[in-house]
Structure formats: structure tokens, C-alpha cells
């Protein structure tokens, strides 16, 4: 039977199942195949904080969304064209996101009376008319997998567990994905359990063959590779890119990296990644708590290391006092906050942009700290190098605000040329800088206002620093009122004077009257929304902040050159508050705090409304 092949320009697939069903792995593998094939892509994992919520229930549903296309794309997509539902809970939890006409591939074996009852279905939706808006492919994935693995000497449970690989095989067939790398991946993942490896490969192949032979699928789809800029690419998640950026910062600065960290969702993967790269001279220290994590990083910085701590919001709250100590001792330090939904424990696996004000102001005293934020998963690499540049050049702690969406989402990354990376090397002070051969630890560089950095082991420069106010120059304890006023102002002036690139505005015609401003992970959805609005004939400008403290020098001018400034944020208007206060601009805020990224369609509507209300 020759099957019809249909060309598509883009597809959004969501794999959904129980948190034990291996949906994240399935999504990751499909992503790897898609990256290898050369589509542009963007991913959105979405999983519960519970490791194994009760099986078959709505809270236990874990999903992975992948958007891939023959052109460059900016987001993981608003609504899936295809939902793979491994059980009734996965169907029910995701159905409301599914547009009319979308495909549902449902594992009919799991639609048992008991599983249906768990999520409140009186009858199987696969058998009544309730799914008539969609194209339903009811496939007994579990029993087909078990049957395909009959010849293997493995338990029924192990056979059933391979059903995600069967599904992956089927989807790989449906979208013409290359399969070699997945087979290799399975073989190496289960290298120590050859029976499991073989059976998973067999399940994967069986899924592929099922697609080819069954009448349930009469059409398969082709999405041509995207025409991206020439270069070498790999797929990368935000957390991995951030870890690589920190390694690059260590190499480019010539300083050994010391990471002090305490495990916390969704930042732990940075600790995991860095702990793999000891041959770069990286020391990773899993501390007893968040405070010790940053304390050890600061201690290492005092000794001349590139000190880094990685955490999420609750951890930043705990680290605040030590960050203040880094501010006043003027030591370089990178504090990575992979933001998650708060307050308190909040929703650990869900994304948010709610730590901006804490990063800026969440410490006692006048305690200015530079803040940077990456725009996309791959930008996490560049922003880590930038954070290190600022920290080292100005001898200051730097807050890096990533978030759960960037951390776990992935996209193709055009690898940078090593020789294009900035030189951020540091020279430690080795000679006295005061009269009579004395060393003045707080005698500042006249241009940057940075203080010298003399590390233990340097003869003749022995000195003491600490949290008590220091006399200008000598660094000796000082309670002098005028000295304190001076030091407060000097520390502020140093941060205010950091060299930050100008804010670039994307305004093709130059005649737009509305500017959409964003920061951090909203870049993709905002840019995708802007495209839609422009395609429909309206003019709109876009600018995106990567530096939140200090702001780019031209920001006031940019804000004032548009009639209206729209600022979508996944918080209740934190950046808007700052901009209104600083620039007296009547920012129009758009805020949703649902633990999810914005949808492009949603933002396009908001932007259009602002344009139309002129």
C-alpha cells in the first residue's frame, strides 16, 4: 500500500501521559530527531512537581510540547496540532488546549473503566461522540507493544513500559524522522541491561512498522528542513546553555569556576551539568543549604575563583544577606535565579518572572546589584558570559534571572566560534597601590570605580575585608557619617556606570506608534505575536531588555519616542513599576501569572487592541 505524503510547513505535537510514562524522554528523543533533520524547533516540557503522583490522575499528567517547522520559529506553539494521550487523564487534562480538527492519538488500552472513573469520565470518550470535533486515532499502544515483545524474555511490566518507545516509533514514521540516533541512544541508555535495550529498540521499530502498515494512518507528513543561518547547530535547553556559558566564562576569564549550590527545582540541572565537567578545573560543591552555597561561592571568590551559586526564588531569599556581603566587600559573584512560580514554594515546576524586584531590592541597606536576563534558551549561554564579564570587571555580585520556561525549553543553537567569545580575563593586584608601599583595598579604578582584587597568597598585600562599613581607600572599619554617605554613593555609582549595550529597537518601517517592550523569557511569544500583527497589516515596534540594572543608556529616549508602550510580563507589573518611576512613562501593562508562558495568539490580540485604541 502506498501512502499519501502531505507537505506541512509546521507542526505542534504534545506528548502527554502519566508522570511515570516517560513522556519527557519521548519528547526529548523526538526533539533530537527533529533537530538532526534540520527543522527549526522550540520545546515546552510541562510536568508536576511530584515525582510520581498517583497513577492515572489529572495531577499526575506530564507533557512535552514540540513545535517544529521549515522556517524559523520563536515559541513552542500555542495549541497542539497533534495530541498523543497515553491515558484518559492525559486526554482530559489537555483537551481544552486542542483546536478543532487536531489529531488525537490515544492509547485505547488505558481507557479502562477504572482509569475512566479516576478522571470522571462516565463512558469512554473514544467510543461516544464527545470527540467528534477532532480526528481521533484510537491505537492499543500497550497491547501492541506487549505483542511485539513476546519473543523477549522480559517481564510483562517491562514490556508494557516500552509503550512510549512504540509511540515514538509511530510518530517518527508519521513525520519522517531519522531514527538511527534514537536507536543508538536506547542502546547506550540501557547498555547495562541488554534485554531492555533490545526490547525498547524492538518496540520503537514496531511502532514505526505499525504506522507503515496500519490503515489507521493513511497519510504521513513531511516538514522540510528550515533555512537557518549557515553554521553548526545543536539543540540545547536553557539550563544546559547556562552551564556551558559558565564554563566558557571560566575559560575566557582564566579563573577556575567554583559552584556552591543546593538542589532546587528548576535550577538543579545546572549543578548536575557542571559537576560533569571537572576536567575544566570546575569545583562543584553541594552545600548543606542555600546560604552555605552562596557563602562558599563568595569564599572561593575571595580566593580568586569565579564564584557562582545557582538557585530559584526561595533560595535567593535565603542568600540575600550573603549577596549583601558581596556587595559591600565588592567581590565578583554570579547568582543564578531560575525563577519559578511563587510566593513561598509556589509551583516549583512552573515558570514566572516574579523575582525581578527581589533581585534588585531584596536586601538590607542600599545594596545595588546588576541584573541580567536571557531571552531564549540558547541566550542563556551568552548571558552567563555577560554576567561574568560584569562581575569580574566591576567586582560585584550579578543577578542572572532565567526561568523555568527557558531552563527546560530547548531550541537549535548556532554554536559560537570560540575566537568570537569576549576576553574577560582578570589581572589580580600584586603590587602595593598606596604611599609607602601600603595596599589600599578600596582605592578604586577611576574609570570603572572597581576596587583592586588581591587574593590570599600575594605577599605584602595582606588585608582584611568585611561586612562592616569601610573607610574609603584603606578599607578599615569606619563609622564616620560622611564616609558612609560617600561609600553608599560610590557603590551605587559603580553599578550605575556599568557599560551596557544600547537597547535595540526592531521597527522596520520606522513609523510604528506602539512599542512592545519585554524582558527575559517573553521574547519568543512577543516576537511571534509581533509577526502576526505585522502580517495582518499593522505597524508595531519591538524591543527586549537583557540588562535590567543598569538599564541601557538610551532606554528613556526609546520609551519616549513611541505614543504607547505595551509591556507584557509574567508578574503583576514589576518592570513597569520601575520604568514608570524612573522615566515617568505611562506604561501599558499586560500581566498573566498562570505558571505558563504567554501564547503568541493571546499577545497578538493584546497588541492589536492597543494599536486599534489609538
Amino acid at each position: 500500500m502506498t501512502k499519501q505524503v502531505q507537505q506541512l510547513d509546521r507542526v505542534i505535537i504534545r506528548f502527554a501521559g502519566d508522570s511515570g510514562d516517560g513522556m519527557q524522554l519521548t519528547g526529548d528523543r523526538f526533539t533530537a530527531e527533529t533537530a538532526e533533520f534540520g527543522n527549526d524547533l522550540s520545546t515546552l516540557p510541562n510536568f508536576p512537581a511530584e515525582i510520581r503522583a498517583p497513577a492515572g490522575t489529572l495531577p499526575g499528567v506530564s507533557s512535552f510540547q514540540l513545535h517544529f517547522a521549515d522556517h524559523d520559529i520563536l515559541t513552542p506553539g500555542d495549541a497542539p496540532n497533534v495530541l498523543v494521550a497515553m491515558n484518559p487523564a492525559a486526554l482530559k487534562a489537555n483537551l481544552s488546549d486542542l483546536p478543532r480538527g487536531a489529531d488525537i492519538i490515544a492509547n485505547s488500552d488505558e481507557f479502562t473503566k477504572r482509569n475512566l472513573a479516576k478522571v470522571g469520565y462516565a463512558e469512554s470518550p473514544l467510543e461516544d461522540e464527545s470527540l467528534s470535533e477532532w480526528r481521533v486515532h484510537s491505537v492499543p499502544l500497550t497491547s501492541l507493544t506487549v505483542k511485539a515483545l513476546e519473543e523477549f524474555e522480559i517481564s510483562k511490566k517491562d514490556a508494557e513500559r516500552a509503550k512510549n518507545m512504540f509511540a515514538l516509533g509511530l510518530l517518527s514514521w508519521l513525520y519522517h524522522r531519522p531514527v538511527e540516533a534514537t536507536i543508538k541512544f536506547i542502546e547506550s541508555k540501557f547498555a547495562k541491561k541488554p534485554d531492555i535495550a533490545k526490547s525498547n529498540v524492538a518496540a520503537f521499530n514496531a511502532g514505526w512498522n505499525y504506522g507503515e502498515t496500519t490503515e489507521a494512518f493513511s497519510v504521513s507528513y513531511e516538514i522540510k528542513p528550515a533555512k537557518l543561518a549557515p553554521g553548526v547547530y545543536r539543540n540545547i535547553s536553557g539550563n544546559q546553555a547556562l552551564a556551558y556559558g559558565l564554563i566558557a566564562a571560566s575559560v575566557q576569564s582564566g579563573l577556575p569556576l567554583f559552584l556552591g549550590s543546593y538542589p532546587i527545582t528548576p535550577a538543579s540541572d545546572i549543578l548536575h551539568e557542571l559537576s560533569k565537567h571537572k576536567r575544566f578545573g570546575i569545583r562543584t560543591f553541594q552545600a548543606e543549604d542555600e546560604i552555605a552555597g552562596v557563602g562558599a561561592a563568595l569564599g572561593a571568590a575571595f580566593g580568586g575563583a569565579l564564584g557562582v551559586t545557582t538557585t530559584s526564588g526561595p533560595g535567593v531569599a535565603l542568600k540575600a544577606e550573603t549577596v549583601g556581603l558581596a556587595v559591600t566587600t565588592e567581590l565578583p559573584l554570579i547568582v543564578v535565579d531560575v525563577q519559578r512560580a511563587g510566593p513561598s514554594t509556589g509551583m516549583p515546576t512552573k515558570t514566572e518572572q516574579t523575582d525581578l524586584l527581589m533581585a534588585l531590592y531584596g536586601r538590607n541597606g542600599e545594596s545595588p546589584v546588576p541584573v541580567v536576563a536571557p531571552s531564549t534558551p540558547s541566550d542563556c549561554f551568552d548571558i552567563a558570559v555577560e554576567a561574568a564579564r560584569i562581575a569580574l570587571k566591576y567586582r560585584t555580585p550579578v543577578m542572572l534571572l532565567s526561568d523555568g520556561y527557558l531552563a527546560n525549553g530547548s531550541e537549535p543553537w548556532k554554536l559560537p566560534e570560540i575566537e568570537d567569545l569576549p576576553d574577560i580575563s582578570v589581572e589580580f593586584t600584586t603590587e602595593p597601590n598606596g604611599e609607602d608601599g601600603t595596599y589600599l583595598p578600596f582605592k578604586r579604578d577611576t574609570e570603572t570605580l572597581a576596587r583592586p582584587w588581591a587574593v590570599p597568597g600575594t605577599p605584602g598585600l595582606e588585608h582584611r575585608i568585611g561586612g562592616i562599613e569601610k573607610a574609603d581607600g584603606t578599607g578599615n572599619i569606619s563609622y564616620d557619617p560622611n564616609n558612609h554617605d560617600l561609600m553608599v554613593r560610590l557603590r551605587q555609582a559603580k553599578i550605575d556606570g556599568i557599560d551596557v549595550p544600547d537597547l535595540e529597537v526592531d521597527d522596520p518601517s520606522g513609523s510604528a506608534r506602539v512599542l512592545v517592550l519585554g524582558w527575559g523569557s517573553t521574547y519568543g511569544p512577543i516576537a511571534a505575536a509581533i509577526r502576526r500583527v505585522r502580517r495582518s497589516g499593522s505597524e508595531v515596534a519591538q524591543a527586549h531588555l537583557r540588562h535590567l540594572n543598569p538599564f541601557p543608556k538610551n532606554i528613556g529616549e526609546v520609551l519616549k519616542s513611541y505614543d504607547k508602550v505595551l509591556l507584557p510580563e509574567i508578574n503583576l507589573g514589576q518592570l513597569a513599576l520601575l520604568l514608570r518611576a524612573r522615566f515617568l512613562v505611562d506604561i501599558i501593562s499586560y500581566n498573566r501569572v498562570r505558571g505558563l508562558p504567554f501564547k503568541a495568539e493571546e499577545l497578538a490580540g493584546v497588541i492589536q487592541d492597543v494599536i486599534d485604541s489609538e
Binding site: A32, A35, E36, G38, K227, A229, P230, V232, Y233, R234, N235, Y244, I247, A248, V251, P256, F258, G260, H277, K278, R279, F280, G281, I282, R283, F285, A287, E288, I291, A292, G295, A296, L298, G299, A300, F302, G303, G304, A305, G307, E321, T322, G324, L325, L415, P416, I418, P456, G457, T458, P459, L461, E462, H463, R464, I465, G466, G467, I468, I477
Partner: protein
Amino acid sequence: MNGKGLALIPRAEGKQTLKDFKSDQEVRWCPGCGDYAILAAVQSFMPELGIKRENTVFVSGIGCSSRFPYYMNTYGFHSIHGRAPAIATGLAASRPDLSVWVITGDGDALSIGGNHLIHALRRNVNLNILLFNNRIYGLTKGQYSPTSEVGKITKSTPMGSLDRPFNPISLAIGAEAGFVARTLDSDRKHLHSVLREAAAHRGTSLVEIYQNCNIFNDGAFERMKDPATRDAITVRLEHGQPIVFADQAVRLARTGGVEVVPRESVREEEILVHDAHNPDPSLAFALSRLDEPAFTHVPIGVFRSVDRPSYDQLMSEQLEAATAKKGQGSLSDLLHGGDTWRIS
């Protein structure tokens, strides 16, 4: 002298003196504070180590004792309340060529910083922690501390404190410390001998120093200082020596601990011989309980000194092993690792 604890630290070229270790800062403790004696003892002790002054770092937290680093002409870091062990851990773990000393007090180490202290001890980073125990909060003007005796009347406890104190030695032994000792601010010779052994130990050394706060808790250790009482209560521990003092001796008790009995009532072989190097910490712990109820008999000296690899050494070894196995890291190889594809 140069024990294992100093093996990786560069040696000073010329002879150093007490004066080399005094900073130009005016010492600002209350007149009569026990901290003066400890400072003088440490300053006069440091030259003996023969290590480069610039490779010596004093790190402290908050409290009266934590001003200490300002008075030492070495590198120093006066940090925040309770966090000195954490900060010193990062420094010592990344710089095995440094001799790192943590100066802390009973409030700093055992209240706000209790978590960092116990984890530093179990990890065995190469640190010397000097815990100045005056059994009171001094800098905040006289509230009871986690080592104050039950019923302590202070500004915050006008009817007496309710919580049972920590015994820092018992706590440290329970936290898997490899080196635990106690000494007294007023006994410079003993203080020097304990510091000598602490510095020679590679790993975390905890030295509890009884320190008199003459303003808020004067006389807390007077019975150990008064010639009329001190010999009857001070139990001097010396490795390899029978534990005897005045006309008393220490032997195993039927309860499973140790007990003080009149020397004449026991046979020589019944007297416990102190073994600081015993891998089993049980007897060291039992000895630490001799001061119960408060200050009947107070052992001083080295309770426990057991060698095991230090954290910084093990960390360095992992880095070396990873490099030996696959060579030094290459950024280009790292970025191009994994599945890549080329678009032309």
C-alpha cells in the same frame, strides 16, 4: 614544625615574629576580655608554624570574637552571622595552599551557624575552627547563649533560661569531627599546645576555647582558674597517658560511659589511658560528658585526633582523575559534543 595540615602551604623564607602578625588596627574589646589573651596567644603562636603569612587567612562571623581577623596581619574576612564555616569552606576547598582559620563564638557557631558548623565538621575541609565559648551573648549585650547553663538569668530570660545547653565537644564528636579539643584563654602554654596539634591536623579541627566575658558573664570559668579549685576539676587529656588528676582517676563506668573515682580505689590497669587516635569516637564522647552535671570535672586537651582524607584533597583528586582520564577540557569540543548538524 610542619604536620600534614600544613603540607601544601608554602613555607616562609625568613624567621617570622609575633610582630609580623599584629595588624595596625586598634584592638577594641572591653578591657579585661578574655579575647585579648587569645589574640596574644595566637599572634605569638603563628610564627612557629613557619608558613607564609600571605597564605594565612582568618575568617570570622559576627560577635565579639569575630572582630579577631582585623587584628591579624594576614588576609582576613569578617563575614556575616554564623556563615564563616561556609565561606571558609569555599575558600579552603578551592585553595588547598592556604591555612584557613575560622574564628567564631558560642552564639555564632552553635545558634545561627549551627548547620554550617556540623557540616564543616563532617566534611573535613582543611579548616581550623576556634570557638570562643563565653557562654553568653556579648555583642548584643548579655542574652543567654546556646552554651549557657539552664536557668540563666539574663535580660531576655528574667525568670531563667529554659533550654538545655549544647556541649560543643559532644556536638562536634557527634558531627563526625576528626579533631576536637578544648583549652582555656588564660593558659597560654596549653592553648599553644592545642593549636599546634590543630594546625598539624589535615581536615577540620575544632578547638573550643573557654573565654571569660568579664562584662556579662564574669567568672564563668573561675573554678578552672582559681588555684584553690582548678586542680580538682580540670582533667588534662594527653594521648597515651592514664587519665588522672589531683587524687582522682577516670575509668570505664558500668553505665557504658566513664566515671571519676578516687585514685586509691582503683587498680592501675583500671585507669583509662587516653587514646585520641581511636577510630571509635565512643570514649572521646564519654569523656566529653564528664562535665555533667555542669563543671564537676572538665576535661581539656585533645579529645579526638583521627586522620582521614580532607575534603579539599578529595575534591582536587577528582579533578585530577577526570583530567587524567580524558585530558584537560576543551571548550570547542564541549560545545560541539552531542548531536550537531551543519547548515550551509
